[in-house]
Symmetry: C2
């Protein structure tokens, strides 16, 4: 059998969002969406430091819930991760004073 090389960092970037989303979406009810409770559990578990600074985590859920069905599907969840990845890159760029 071909020796499986360890996954690259990029492959983890691609696969991890599914693993994290299903870990919390699968807790109760519809396994394909995050309920408000599951979303708050996710935020307090996976992004505790960030969440502590949020005055109103409920408001975050409302902003992400684009189709206003009271749940977050995977795309709506990925928008959060993507937005935070962009913010992370912006702060990296500012901190290292790259010349555009």
């Amino acid at each position: 059998m071909a020796k499986m090389s360890s996954p690259t960092e990029t492959k983890q970037c691609i696969e991890s969002p599914t693993a994290v989303f299903q870990k919390f979406a699968g807790k109760a009810g519809n396994n394909c969406t995050l309920s408000k409770t599951e979303f708050l559990t996710f935020m307090n578990t996976e992004l505790a430091a960030f969440t502590k600074n949020q005055k109103d985590p409920d408001r975050m859920m409302k902003k992400l819930d684009l189709n206003t069905d009271g749940q977050l599907d995977f795309q709506e969840f990925l928008n959060l991760i993507g937005g935070m990845a962009v913010a992370c890159h912006d702060s990296f760029t500012r901190s290292t004073h790259f010349q555009k």
Copy 2:
């Protein structure tokens, strides 16, 4: 000093894209964008199996280069990662026959 807990999987999802992007964007020229050469090196290094199945990796670069400046900035790069993360979740959902 407060004990730094190990980063959660979500934090890695958020920080890894910057680490991977800068690893390849920093090779030559503008450190804030991926040239075509840097993009192909990234694809052949980080996503070798996927890239082998691509008839025309150049066409991928053109599709991602939304502002047609011949380079990929971080947002354009993140669109690739995000698109592949959605495809990964879709195939996970199909393979586990979740009921919507």
